[in-house]
Symmetry: C2
Subunit: 564 residues, 2 copies
């Protein structure tokens, strides 16, 4: 092992420092230099929304190690013998001379520094569409701690805010602003929140649940301009509405910082990010790339994808650290696993969404079930709604996504693990998962959903989605909407339509002959379990045109009822 290796890393936020630290552990005598354009390094970017809403009370926390030491230049030098040059821009890479031209942004001096191995961890920058008025005061991004400090200066005085973009950051920021009791509206060009993250059905349910907590949505709307008075924003004008806003946060996405790579003639992938191989090596054998500037490969589709996430950045940084030190570590790619929290609702997904899977040529089968995340008698029990997407013939799990105030992250991680190994629905049901009342129900919600999908597949439980039921109601179809909930459930969330017949489950069997056998019947309950039971009873009694409404009222996102 060459111990006096010169390792230069451009980018000091997540993947860069991770690569540097790993390389240092392997190469005690290497000369390791990290360069960053900003004064902010090694910060917890993902923590910024939690500072914005007051859950984290000290700004320094975002820069601290777990043992309360600030990760600044001194820290890296003292604890890791890594030189960090902040406020320093890398201007150019000379791949022949293996040298990087850097400029001190304060003093202005430029110099070339040599490298044996170079790592590009240049990150991503927010996309700023050229909206008129985007330079008004009160219009922000949230891409780095500087943005955060600027936001914090005015957030106390704001009553109404608009967030542009319903992706990860937009949703988290909207949740944080709403937690501060700011009336918040999210404007999104697409017709649903979290496009590409959640399927439309779950996104629709999440929308109604967040609306009931005070977040407004302007979906399918295009921002035209920001308007203001005295140089300060006061309105957002879309193609359909004028929204009052004393603050606007732009979160329409990021694009990888590839200027340096482009200029150096490195290969750029068709996603627009730096192309790397399984060792995170660029088209130059001495240059690695990792983090938000680099492409990923989706394990399931085998295709290149651009998904800039802190978790991949860290795993990639470690791989790069290994490889700069002469190891041959591979980076396996991603499944598209992601988690976020908005208000008290958790959101998670892994693998492919239903539409994505179909786009990739899979024939899919899906099931959605709401379920308790732990024993319903345990005081901390809460709701999770899971959707399982499987390949039609093989039953192979393609994706799982979910929403809910309950413990969702566990089910997503189990699904991500299972999908990595090519699990089928049968495999999921066979898993020996842990149970005790504070942690789970005796049948885990993921297994419950897999069972439901198997039941659907085998024809045991013909289902209809809440969306289709809503369409039938709107269309004026003649059918019986059979409500088998208890009286209390019925009264607290009534479904007001004359086609509704309320027969509590406990009376269904004795009253079964009073129900018309000629009409189509849709049974529903709260979680979709009793409606299954009722459907089987009706089928057993010779009823033929019966379906169960998938997910029950917990999945209802239409009309004035069904709010959680």
């Amino acid at each position: 092992m060459k111990q006096d290796l010169k390792l230069v890393i451009i980018g000091g936020v997540a993947a860069g420092p991770k690569a540097a630290a790993r390389a240092r552990r392997l190469l005690p005598n290497a000369e390791i230099t990290v360069i960053d354009r900003s004064r902010w390094i090694s910060y917890a970017g993902c923590g910024m929304p939690f500072f914005l809403d007051g859950q984290i009370d000290s700004f320094e926390e975002l820069f601290n190690t777990a043992y309360d030491v600030i990760r600044d230049e001194g820290y890296f030098l003292r604890e890791k013998d890594i030189t960090v040059l902040t406020s320093t821009e890398a201007l150019e890479v000379d791949r022949v001379k293996k040298s990087v031209l850097i400029r001190d942004l304060a003093g202005g001096e430029e110099r070339w520094i040599p490298y044996d191995k170079l790592v590009l961890a240049t990150g991503a920058s927010p996309i700023i569409p050229p909206f008129e008025g985007r330079d008004l005061k009160g219009v922000y991004g949230l891409n780095n701690p500087g943005d955060l400090l600027r936001l914090m200066e005015t957030v106390e005085d704001v009553n109404e805010a608009v967030v542009v973009g319903a992706g990860f950051i937009g949703m988290e920021v909207a949740g944080a602003l709403s937690n501060r009791n700011i009336l918040t509206t999210i404007v999104e060009l697409r017709e649903q929140l979290l496009p590409g993250v959640l399927d439309e059905d779950l996104a629709g349910v999440l929308k109604t649940r967040l609306e009931s907590q005070g977040i407004d949505f302007a979906l399918g709307q295009k921002v035209l301009r920001f308007e203001g008075e005295n140089g300060r924003v006061s309105r957002v004008v879309t193609d359909q509405a004028v929204l009052d806003a004393e603050m606007v946060v732009m979160a329409v996405g990021v694009r990888p910082n590839i200027d340096l790579a482009l200029k150096a003639g490195l290969e750029i992938g068709n996603t627009g990010a730096i192309r790397v191989d399984e060792y995170m090596l660029t088209s130059d054998p001495e240059i690695y790339a990792c983090g938000d500037c680099a492409e990923n490969v989706n394990i399931l589709s085998g295709r290149h994808t651009y998904v800039p996430l802190a978790s991949s950045a860290n795993r990639q940084g470690r791989v790069v650290g290994d490889n700069t030190a002469g190891r041959r570590s591979k980076y396996n790619g991603i499944l598209g696993t992601a988690l976020l929290q908005v208000k008290n609702w958790n959101v998670g997904r892994t693998g492919l969404g239903e539409q994505q899977a179909q786009d990739y040529g899979y024939e899919t089968k899906t099931a959605i079930t709401p379920a308790h995340d732990r024993s319903h008698y345990h005081p901390q029990h809460s709701l999770v709604i899971l959707k399982v997407i499987a390949e039609a013939g093989s039953g192979r799990l393609l994706g799982v996504q979910g929403i809910g105030p309950g413990s969702l992250d566990k089910r997503i991680d189990v699904a991500a693990t299972a999908i990595s190994f090519g699990a089928t629905l049968d495999n999921i049901v066979d898993l020996d998962l842990g149970y005790a009342p504070p942690f789970n129900t005796t049948i885990d919600p993921l297994q419950h959903t897999a069972n439901t999908l198997r039941n659907k597949n085998s024809g045991l439980i013909p289902m209809i989605s809440p969306r289709e039921v809503w369409d039938k109601l709107q269309r004026g179809d003649d059918f019986i909407l059979l409500d088998v909930r208890t009286q209390r459930e019925h009264d607290s969330k009534p479904m007001n339509d004359e086609r509704v017949l309320h027969v509590i489950m406990g009376e269904l069997r004795e009253r079964i002959d009073s129900i018309s056998r000629d009409k189509e019947i849709v049974v529903f309950c709260d979680l979709g379990i009793r409606s299954y039971e009722a459907l089987r009873a009706l089928k057993g009694a010779g009823f033929t045109k019966v379906r169960s409404m998938e997910g029950g009222m917990r999945l209802w996102a239409y009309g004035p009822v069904g709010m959680l």
Copy 2:
């Protein structure tokens, strides 16, 4: 499908009702009868400790459905068309005539009821060792709701209690009593708590953490007798101590109820439970067994095992329901996954323990790491301590176990899933698990532990266990115990020994030449991460005899320091 099948199920707590409900959904016209000796059916036995400590405030909750209907005989008849005979004992099975002799325990009448398919879900009974004084008032078990009601009658007046047995139920009951501010001592015959569940090292750490919360342990002690005054227990006498106790709860384990099966000549396994095949079929092709009366197969070892848990009971019940209805569903066996909660500490395990794995002939490698369960700046972050057991050559994951107040269940379930698919350490590190600050750190603790084990394996980080360090200290070995924690950490949990040298990590590199190169060095910190960093720095500077103390102070369970 034969629709007028007569299905008789003996046992009405967990597996029995589950099998009955599943069979009903598949066979609308079958005649389904469930028989139980007790008046208590379909109750949440696992919830009893949570009622005992007041977390659940209504006894009825243990019998309720999620929609607040009590699961009594009327419920099963009305909602599922299942006849439940409570206070009815099954006395004998005539396998030739396919008939069960039952006795109404109230009236005393006996009659034969015919079956086409029979399910034995007879459960388990607590082992009651023949201790002198076991009939004194105040000596209880906790095996059914009747026991619970008896316990609740006196628990308000109790100041000191003894729990006999440090298994699942003993630990949960002790935690519940302690939560009621009752001084609680657990007596256990073996030298550690949770024998067979946790390895000795983690059990030792858990013991000190629970002791600091007021639970006392009398390990390696044999109960000789209970003594009392006026017919009421007041002391437990062991071979080493006399323990005051106004209440004693016996929890030394359960044994399967196999009398009926034995009498009927069904095969009993070498574990003492009813032998079943992969379809949960006994040696009689018309008789199934499931739940706590039946054997399990451990997937990893391939051996029969007896692990009576509610989660397996429910999965088995579903499989039996399928098969009685003519399906061919398989039950895959167990991995030995289990979870429990004692005070604010969670405990979990899956796969094989270190000793178990060695007993099965595996050469093992292990790593233990304490880690934050989510971003350390997130207000809800907490500690999990994970131990990974892998096969030495292949790196195949054999088992994972853990303790801690943090989110442990997620990591155990991910491990259980991974082990099911034969995952290696490399596979674990490659998993695309979810990250956001409320849910995880950027590198999941399980992946962190797998990385640590890979680092150990590759010689990157020579380690010594806290136990060995303690032995060295006790033995008077001459070595440097290098504390690289911050001043605050050092002061709050001092390791008082003259062999300790305190050099905070931030000063180690500059002070490195002041450290003796002749002596053996053991570095430690809080979590074992800085000690790794320090070890690499020392190695880089030419130090040879350096080891890092595995898991840092979070794993320290000796002497007066290290209490969490």
